[in-house]
């Protein structure tokens, strides 16, 4: 919460400071509210148009669904981070939670010989428990969110490796005692990735439904309003009668649940308990939720913005791949998108941005 006091010009000499002010002011005027609001949407549309014109393979329905399916786990984990951000926090354990979910789903089905439905239940329970652990550390033990979730990240990754003996779990694998594992990835589980409802792949359906649900929850219900109130000023929220600790706990549990849903989709996609799955999810999820803050000029974490940020990244990655850019150029592109998003929300926007990522609230 520490803010540099106004009137105590720090570090920069006066002339530089004045110059920065002038630049910021003029840029701020030129980048009007409309650009801030629609700039990202415009960039996404332009990118889609560009790739659609240059790449015949891009402008197909299959590709559209393919992109959305590809980005769904990232987007859903991003929605989780978004929830943590609504209460002024952050969750760095989403990638680890998703990876944990992949291994636990595989272990339940392959070693435990259970059907997919049971695996889903176990995974969701684990996700909620991880969220509850985060909440315990942050809300009860009052460890700053950034550090608490970083710790949880390590703990979960370690726990996962202990459970699976550091190995990826695949159907009918040979176990440590030489026997063959009794179970396999069941068809009902794999349906999560390969199935479709009408023409729409299941992951896309889940992605869209969760986005709509969270949008409704945050924007249209009193619980969502209370979550935002906690993030805006937890002391004021408490004095207004809001159960601040309860809402913060709920936010982290929700985040853990969403991260495990992302993990389920990853597990169904890979078809085995890849021990390294989910490793790259964290940065993308955080990036997507941060992009979401700025996308529609709303200036606070929100569901549509997060979804749109995910779509933008999917379009970029798919398009660049089709154009022939190497996969290792992707991170650079994502970094640029994030940079532009942050410039929009913090530098050019007149509106105060209310994301307090990693705030050391206590």
């Amino acid at each position: 919460m520490s803010q540099l006091p106004t009137g105590q010009g720090f570090s920069a000499p006066p002339r530089v400071e004045a110059a920065i002010d002038r630049v910021r002011a003029s840029v701020g005027e030129r980048v009007s509210a409309g650009v801030v609001r629609w700039g990202f949407v415009a960039v996404t549309v332009l990118l889609i148009a560009f790739f659609a014109i240059t790449e015949p393979n891009f402008r197909t329905v299959d590709n559209a669904f393919g992109m959305l399916k590809f980005i769904a786990p990232t987007a859903i984990a991003g929605l989780g981070v978004m929830i943590a951000m609504t209460v002024g926090g952050i969750d760095l354990s989403v990638g680890a939670s998703a990876g944990f979910a992949v291994s636990i789903a595989a272990w339940t089905m392959v070693v435990g010989n259970q059907v997919g439905g049971v695996a889903v239940g176990v995974v969701l329970l684990c996700g909620a428990l991880i969220g509850a652990l985060n909440a315990l550390l942050i809300v009860v033990a009052r460890i700053p969110d950034l550090l608490a979730t970083l710790t949880t990240m390590f703990v979960i990754v370690g726990l996962k490796l202990l459970i699976v003996d550091g190995k990826s779990i695949s159907s009918r694998m040979t176990l440590a005692d030489g026997s063959t594992a009794p179970g396999k990835f069941t068809d009902d589980f794999l349906w999560l990735d390969r199935g479709s409802i009408g023409p729409v792949p299941v992951p896309v359906v889940i992605f869209v439904l969760l986005t709509a649900l969270l949008w409704f929850l945050l924007e249209r219900t009193r619980w969502g309003r209370a979550l935002y109130a906690v993030g805006a000023n937890s002391e004021a929220a408490r004095l207004a009668g809001i159960r601040v600790q309860l809402y913060r706990t709920a936010a982290y549990v929700g985040c853990g649940l969403l991260a495990s849903v992302a993990g389920l989709l990853l597990a169904a996609r890979i078809g085995q308990g890849d021990v390294s799955a989910g490793n790259s999810l964290l940065l993308d999820a955080v990036a997507v939720s941060l992009v979401g803050v700025s996308v529609l000029g709303i200036g606070r974490p929100n569901a549509w913005g997060t979804a749109l940020g995910a779509v933008l990244i999917a379009v970029m990655v798919t398009g660049f791949t089709m154009v022939g850019l190497p996969y290792y150029a992707q991170d650079f592109g994502k970094g640029l998108v994030l940079l532009v998003a942050l410039l929009f929300s913090f530098t050019f926007s007149r509106k105060r941005t209310v994301v307090v990522a990693g705030s050391m609230t206590n």
């Binding site: 520490s2 002010d21 004021a236 929220a237």
Partner: protein, 539 residues
């Protein structure tokens, strides 16, 4: 540009003022400022003479803050001419303004304190901001410099206090730290924005002495306050701002009724003496043997419906503690509370609100304002359940409630969708008070509700509290300002060091008796020179 000595000598002793201080007049010619299409300052012409204290008066939203920011370099985009010592100055940043000899102490004390740095480092903050010079810190030298700077204000804090985290300073002590810092650069123009709003009267008196010494020394001082007594005691001239223009500029002796008229644009009696005081009939709440401060004797107090109870006390008298116990923020260490005859033991603010007890907290910015939220959403946040059906918020209900509050308290705002941050302090406070009154509470507790609130807003809030009392509710106003309490209360309780020193009805008491009870016993306690960590306030 004058050189700014790193460790200035004590200005109160009158030596080593910059030689050109006699030229150190700050003049404004045709200064205007607007936020977009909203013109907040219009063609302001003013001169600040050395060795004089100019009081700047104006209702909330009159443009005082904007003017002060322009002078202190925080509003670099003003138009018109500001000259310092006869030369045109481009006040492009606070650093520039400070180097030209303009120092400001802003109203929001929290903005002037960097938590995490020690008290001494906060006093010396300008050195830390000064680039390479002084990049190497020497703890002993810092302590000595900080001591010197604080000695100007007559403060002698121990090294232990100077070495503690400034986060733990009480608001009044933090105020003194920012003032000591402003005086370190031996300014030619010192701007004080409501410097006494968080001070006890003893601390305020000490501040006045310092200011008089500085004036005798040739410093030009701009003094913003809503307290006419202070201005009468201190100022050489009074400038009244209204709607961004200079309404009048008068010298001693001050014609207060005229000044008030200029300020408010309508005839307002200066002192609203209560001729009659309502007596409440029903007991709404009872505080039974509750100690307010550790070690203090327990307090018993009956709060009645049908009357406005004003509780007067200095900072540290137990006012906030009482408010927090009633509002469910803190639990009493001993004793019991009853509400409407039933035992009342709220475990959290939500319990209190459901029981019909609402609290307007002391620190509006930190405890009530949600940055970036609209007026409507600020108003409905405690009543989300009522504003929704099946958990779904009904925009119509929200807007209706907000519009009612805005109309009821004459909140000046473009619409209920305007961000609360865009409102002036007085109007923000009206929103905060109004939202609680809209719940028709059984008991409304207001802790320092008039801090930084102009007189018109204060009267508006006071009238609404009377309305609440007339309709059978109870209102408790806690303040350290005698005039505020006299203005709003039917019954007056004076709280001294956690103990009730006086309890009576306004029409049976006179000011002298109140002040006597208020000050008499506190003289030793109020000469506090070492800050203690604030209690009962979550940081």
């Amino acid at each position: 540009m004058t050189s700014v000595p790193l460790a200035p000598p004590n200005p109160a002793e009158g030596d080593a003022r910059p030689a050109d201080v006699s030229l150190g007049v700050v003049s404004l010619r045709g200064v205007s400022f607007s936020y977009g299409t909203n013109v907040v300052l219009r063609d302001v012409n003013l001169d600040f003479a050395p060795g004089s204290i100019t009081a700047l008066l104006g209702a909330n939203g009159a443009g005082k803050s904007t003017l002060i920011k322009a002078l202190s370099g925080a509003n670099p985009r003003y138009t018109g001419l500001i000259s310092v010592a006869g030369e045109e100055a481009a006040l492009s940043s606070p650093t520039v303004a400070r180097h030209l000899g303009i120092s400001a102490v802003h109203q929001k004390v929290a903005d002037g304190i960097v938590p995490g740095l020690t008290v001494a480092e906060n006093v010396l903050l300008d050195d830390l901001a000064g680039g390479l010079r002084g990049a190497l810190r020497n703890r002993r030298r810092d302590l000595a410099n900080a001591r010197t700077a604080l000695a100007v204000l007559g403060l002698h804090w121990s090294d232990r206090v100077l070495g503690q985290d400034a986060r733990d300073l009480r608001i009044s002590d933090a105020q003194l730290v920012t003032l000591a810092r402003a005086l370190r650069s031996t300014p030619r123009l010192l701007i004080l924005d409501e410097p006494t709003s968080a001070l006890t009267s003893a601390e305020a008196d000490r501040l006045f002495e310092v200011l008089r010494a500085l004036r005798a020394d040739g410093l030009a001082i701009v003094y913003v306050s809503h307290r006419f007594g202070e201005i009468e005691a201190l100022a050489d001239s009074v400038v009244v701002l209204r709607d961004g223009t200079v309404q009048s500029h008068s010298d001693r002796p001050f014609a207060w009724n005229g000044i008030l008229h200029d300020m408010l644009g309508r005839a307002t009696e200066l002192s609203q003496q209560r001729v009659s005081a309502d007596r409440g009939a029903t007991v709404v709440a009872e505080v039974d043997s509750v100690p307010l401060l550790p070690g203090a004797a327990p307090v018993s107090l009956t709060i009645r419906g049908g009357e406005v109870l004003g509780i007067l006390g200095l900072i540290g008298a137990g006012k906030t503690e009482l408010a927090e116990i009633l509002g469910g923020l803190a639990r009493p260490a001993a004793g019991t509370l009853t509400l409407g005859g039933e035992p009342y033991a709220p475990r959290r603010p939500g319990d209190a609100i459901r029981s019909g007890v609402v609290l307007v907290p002391e620190d509006r910015q930190r405890q009530a304002i949600l940055p970036g939220w609209s007026v409507a959403h600020t108003i409905t946040v405690p009543f989300l359940a009522e504003a929704s059906r099946w958990g779904t918020l009904r925009t119509g209900r929200e807007t209706a409630r907000a519009a009612a509050v805005v109309a009821d308290l004459d909140v000046v705002t473009e619409s209920v969708d305007t961000p609360i941050d865009d409102l002036s302090g007085g109007n923000q406070q009206k929103v905060v008070v109004g939202r609680w009154l809209s719940a028709s509470p059984r008991l409304a507790v207001l802790d320092e509700p008039f801090r930084g609130v102009d007189i018109a807003a204060r009267r508006g809030i006071g009238d609404r509290l009377t309305d609440l009392a007339r309709s059978g509710g109870a209102a408790v106003v806690l303040s350290s300002d005698v005039d505020e309490i006299l203005e709003v209360s039917d019954r007056i309780v004076v709280l001294v060091a956690g103990v009730v020193a006086l309890d009576g009805y306004a029409d049976e008491l006179d000011r002298a008796r109140i002040v006597e009870a208020f000050l008499g016993e506190t003289q030793p306690a109020s000469v506090q020179t070492s800050p203690a960590p604030a209690e009962g306030i979550t940081t």
